[in-house]
Amino acid sequence: MLLITCPWCGPRDEIEFHCGGEANIERPDKPDQLTDQEWADYLFMRANPKGRYAERWVHSAGCRRWFNVIRDTRTHRILAIYRPDEQAPDVAGPSS
């Protein structure tokens, strides 16, 4: 089980949270001009690295706010946690 430090509530058990998948997926600026391939990229294609991964979590059973986590998918070790309005910290370790 992961111990996740909510930026607002502090360290809590993983069962209080939900994982929201890859972070920093931007909604396209001009959706009416997208090709089918570009829509597929936005909707379905995701990074799936073996190593450092930026993902979103929500504190469902707590403050219900979203935040970002950088976690190593080989070890589950959490390398950084930051709020959506903060810049991603520079964390060491291979990206994949």
Binding site: M1, L2, D36, W39, A40, A47
Partner: protein, 416 residues
């Protein structure tokens, strides 16, 4: 290959089974092959076998980074069924089930395929409606499926708690009598032995570290045992599909998650079918050794660590104790996790990749074991003819841009 038969077993019994030959060779890699299959699990070995058997392509290597069937092939809960909703899936999984029915004879290896039936329980009205619809869809596609009321369930599985006082009472079930279980290790070993007998090189402890390209075409692989040339390369690496595809610059809609399972201490025969409940989430069968083999839901986060979180197992045990109060005092012997590659529509990707000569068979998510022979069969066809078979044509990568998704979250039966 020395064939297994009643006589060969009897003859070897006379010499205390000391003179059986090795079941497959352990060759050094050749400098070049016509086809390289990356991944020595059930699907990869089945692909190699059907390449040799159905298409006469025997200059084939299967490269495995660890040992045969050491990944998800040996980590699943061994359930085989074909009761999927959509026509495309029914065709794929039913093709596989038909191959299962003749597999032990075909590869001269007892995979202990036991058609003891698979029962999918329904606990809510929505559950009942979706399941009955799926059951009727199955019958239209020639897949055996029956609707069972609580009294029918009681007859088949008396140990199941059918009390209406349950938090989620059992309101009925769909039943596929031809479904069942198979011994997963034997599937890998049997395909390996049969493929080796037809000339396929099975190379273990050989990890692929890169895919070599010349222009837009694949020309070989880099491995921990040196570079090997190949005209065609098939990726069959389950949880690591994205990692291998990224070596060729291909992005996939796949996320890798842990999926956990566990086994109990062995007990006397008590469960003669496979019971699955997607709503309160537990699925189990009893192995021939007497252990209960119990599967859980997938963990929510991405991982390559082959382990998951404890609360997932806790929830699954709660569901087990609710449905089978008599199992409440069983001890669990061990638990483990495998890494499953999940597609957004819970259906696999089997087909050509944007790089010429590169093929992928992955994204099976939480339920690939049941498809092992059929998956190998259609993938061998795809590689041999450089075009998909009609059965796997709908399972192409470009369905994510055409929008022709094959949504099987309901039939996949594992929450994710």
């Amino acid at each position: 290959m020395k064939r297994f038969s009643f006589w060969s077993v009897a003859r070897n019994a006379l010499s205390s089974h000391q003179h059986w030959p090795r079941q497959w060779r352990s060759p050094n890699p050749k400098p070049a092959y016509d086809v390289i299959i990356i991944g020595g699990g059930g699907h990869g070995l089945a692909t190699a076998y059907y390449l040799a058997k159905e298409h006469g392509i025997t200059n084939v290597a299967v490269l495995e980074k660890g040992w045969l069937g050491g990944g998800n092939t040996a980590r699943n809960t061994t359930i085989v069924r074909s009761n999927y909703l959509w026509d495309e899936s029914a065709a794929l999984y039913e093709h596989s089930l038909k191959l299962w029915e003749g597999l032990s004879k075909d590869i001269n290896y007892n995979v202990m395929f036991s058609q003891r039936g698979v029962m999918n329980l329904c606990h809510t009205l929505g559950d009942v409606r979706a399941s009955r619809r799926r059951s009727e869809a199955n019958r239209l596609n020639g897949v055996d499926s029956e609707w069972l009321g609580p009294s029918d369930i009681k007859r088949i599985c008396p140990v199941l708690n059918l009390s209406p006082k349950l938090r989620y009472p059992v309101m009925g079930a769909t039943f596929q009598p031809r479904g069942g279980v198979a011994r997963h290790d034997a599937v890998a070993w049997g395909f390996a032995r049969a493929a080796d007998a037809r000339g396929v090189d099975i190379i273990q402890n050989c990890e692929v570290t890169g895919l070599r390209r010349d222009g837009g075409r694949i020309v070989g692989v880099d491995t921990t045992r040196g570079a090997i040339d190949a005209k065609k390369v098939g990726i069959v690496t389950a949880g690591h599909s994205s990692v291998l595809a990224s070596m060729a610059g291909v992005r996939l809609p796949i996320q890798s998650h842990p999926l956990q399972a566990l086994v109990s201490e062995p007990i006397k025969p008590v469960l003669n079918t496979v019971i699955m409940s997607s709503a309160i989430h537990v699925y189990l069968s009893q192995s021939d050794k007497g252990e209960l083999v119990i599967g859980a839901g997938a963990d929510s986060y991405n991982s390559y660590a082959q382990r998951g979180s404890f609360h997932v197992i806790e929830e699954q045990m709660a569901a087990l104790c609710e449905l089978f109060p008599t199992f409440g005092r069983l001890r669990m012997l061990r638990s483990w996790g495998g890494i499953v590659d999940i597609c957004p529509d819970a259906s696999p990707i089997i087909g050509k990749m944007p790089v010429d000569g590169l093929y992928l068979n992955g994204g099976w998510g939480t339920g690939g074991f049941k498809a092992t022979p059929g998956s190998g069969w259609v993938f061998a066809w795809t590689i041999a003819k450089d075009a998909p078979h009609p059965i796997n044509a709908p399972f192409s990568l470009d369905r994510f841009s055409t929008g022709a998704l094959i949504a099987e979250h309901g039939a996949a039966a594992v929450a994710h």
